[in-house]
């Protein structure tokens, strides 16, 4: 029987948990709520119960979103819940058939609650600090500052980035600072004399300092004793799998040399083969001098032949699962044999791996340009069609081009009969599309998943 969570997945669950901390932010508002003697009894049950209910509601929302749309679809919508609710229409509910109105109402109420409580916390702390100034005046100043700050970010993307940073601060304000205060409270309450207090402090300080101090990274000896492949090409020729590529040559560097020319990445070529991928890989392992370190690989190139016959799915899983591989390693399929591409001399002296990486990244980054070009072409087709219809079928200038033609060429316009000329006129159409905002669509989504 396999465990429910694979060992490799545990880290991603924790990463995801930290990413959604913002959904629970606001609990630190407890720090500004005074509690009296009467409310103290069984108090813990209420706030913890509310958080459990909130967690349950979040699970329900996310699971329902997943059941309506697939994982692959959901990753492209930043405001998934609203997007899904908007697409739901239940005619049998008559007045409530559009559920988005109801959900929006509840969501706006929740947001108003959020803002009010968080703003109160800020105003309360500031007013307590400068207690000579009237509470309402402090509130007014805080809200004025809030409004000015709120209009500073240019677009939604910037607001999201700022909120992400705020959520990291939230870990301190909701958890770490109160934890430190609670520890100090406990220590002060229990330790009546200084010795005990110091001992307790040592118990906290020593482990923290130990963790922070005794961490390390690779040293130069490790790198010298590793084989660092820069690129890998996988091909199938007849019944043999060819495993080829380049290995970095570790050199001392060209001390004192100055040149305006970019320095060529020094590397060795390698070529291993076997009846299947595992055999080819074994052949490679025997040939290399030191244990392999795959973290430096920039490109993994498959031949079209290998991709069609053997498939690359299993290899992609392998790259994703093995911890030493960069998760951003580029995987590409080429028409030409990989060892030919990886052995190509690039004009500006950069290595083929960099050239490939750069080209693929350029295409990835400029994907939106292709979309704009397609939109322009589509819109142009539609305009040409309707203009042709107005010229050939209706023989009528329904777009009032005459006004503009008259303004540009008044003398010519007086000499001609526009009604007769319009059906024969040559209309030049140029459509330019510029995507000004991707709004709540995440075009780069799916990379992490």
């Amino acid at each position: 029987m396999r465990p429910y969570l694979g060992a490799g997945n545990i880290a991603s669950y924790f990463k995801a948990s930290f990413k959604i901390i913002i959904s629970f932010l606001g609990i630190e508002a407890l720090t500004i709520m005074p509690i009296n003697k009467k409310s103290k009894n069984n108090l813990l049950f209420y706030p913890i119960g509310i958080i459990l209910i909130l967690g349950f509601l979040y699970i329900c929302s996310v699971e329902s979103a997943l059941s309506v749309r697939s994982v692959d679809d959901i990753v492209h919508y930043k405001d998934t819940i609203i997007e899904i609710i908007k697409s739901v229409d239940i005619p049998f509910l008559e007045f409530f058939r559009r559920l988005d109105a109801v959900i929006f109402l509840a969501w706006i109420m929740a947001i108003l609650g959020n803002i009010t409580i968080l703003a109160y916390a800020a105003v309360y702390l500031l007013a307590s600090w400068i207690d000579k100034i009237n509470f309402k005046l402090v509130a007014g100043v805080v809200f004025l500052i809030s409004f000015i700050i709120s209009i500073i970010p240019g677009d939604t993307q910037q607001v999201e980035t700022i909120l992400n940073y705020i959520s990291y601060v939230g870990i301190f304000t909701a958890l770490l600072i109160p934890l430190a205060l609670l520890i100090i409270t406990e220590v002060k309450n229990r330790g009546k004399n200084k010795k005990v207090f110091k001992y307790k402090l040592l118990q906290i300080v020593v482990p923290v300092l130990t963790i922070l101090t005794f961490t390390s990274c690779w040293d130069y000896k490790d790198i010298n004793n590793r084989t660092l492949p820069l690129s890998i090409g996988i091909d199938r020729i007849d019944d043999q799998v060819i495993y080829s590529g380049k290995i970095a040559a570790i050199t001392g560097g060209a001390a004192g040399k100055t040149s305006e020319k970019a320095e060529i990445t020094s590397s060795y070529d390698f070529r291993a083969k076997g009846k299947d991928f595992e055999a080819a890989r074994e052949d490679y392992d025997i040939a290399i001098a030191y244990p392999d370190f795959s973290g430096a690989i920039q490109v993994i190139l498959f031949s079209k032949n290998y991709a069609e016959v053997d498939g690359i799915e299993s290899y992609i899983y392998r790259v994703n699962k093995l911890p030493e591989h960069r998760k951003t390693v580029l995987i590409a399929v080429s028409r030409e044999p990989p060892d030919v591409i990886l052995g190509t001399e690039i004009e500006n002296d950069i290595s083929p791996e960099f050239a490939l990486e750069n080209t693929i990244r350029y295409l990835h980054d400029n994907g939106i340009r292709e979309l704009e070009r397609m939109i322009s072409a589509k819109v142009k087709r539609e305009i040409v069609e309707i203009v042709s219809k107005s010229q050939d079928l209706y023989k009528c200038d329904i777009f009032q081009f005459a006004r503009y033609f008259n303004a540009d060429n008044p003398h010519v316009f007086k000499k001609i009969s526009w009604v007769e000329e319009y059906p024969e006129a040559i209309v030049n159409i140029e459509v330019k599309t510029k995507n000004v905002s991707t709004n709540f669509l995440d075009l780069e989504a799916g990379e992490k998943h």
Binding site: N9, L25, I32, V75, G113, T116, P178, L181, A445
Partner: protein, 157 residues
């Protein structure tokens, strides 16, 4: 005026402060990282939130009738108190500000397409200012009202 709250009010204020913002992005963020195993990640975050709530509630219970402004002075002295205030005040201001701006952007994108985001933010802030000027008791009553409506709506759906 006594600003102490009842247990129910505390629970609803907590719900009001935490629920709402962030829920719209949950499925996307979770699906990106953990695919279909989203509930496990939510469970982990809920556990972390419970720990934080426990710590904060315990602090408030130990220091009866006091807020972080008062008990931080007792625990870490005046310099420590000011450091805490310097962290908390900008944090609360920034969080409330950018939550209102983000909500404004969402409303603009889906409902009020031609309305500038700043106008929506201004409405949010005017509402909040009025509620804040009435202090914690009124805010807790407002939270109870909103909380009950939100519960009914979510249960209905």
């Amino acid at each position: 005026m006594d600003e102490s709250l009842s247990r129910r009010q505390i629970a609803f204020v907590l719900f009001g402060a935490a629920a709402g913002f962030g829920v719209q992005q949950l499925p996307k963020v979770l699906a990106e990282y953990v695919g279909t195993g989203t509930w496990i990640a939510i469970l982990i975050t809920t556990t972390m939130a419970i720990i934080a709530v426990y710590i904060n509630t315990k602090l408030a219970c130990v220091h009866e009738g006091m807020t972080i402004y008062h008990y931080s002075k007792t625990l870490v002295g005046n310099p420590g108190k000011y450091i805490i205030l310097i962290i908390y005040i900008p944090y609360y201001v920034a969080l409330s500000t950018f939550v209102s701006r983000y909500a404004g952007e969402i409303i603009k994108a889906h409902l009020l397409i031609k309305t500038p985001a700043w106008a929506i933010v201004l409405l949010f802030l005017i509402f909040s200012y009025y509620a804040v000027s009435k202090k914690l008791k009124v805010i807790s009553m407002l939270s109870e009202f909103f909380g009950a409506l939100i519960f009914i709506t979510v249960m209905f759906l």
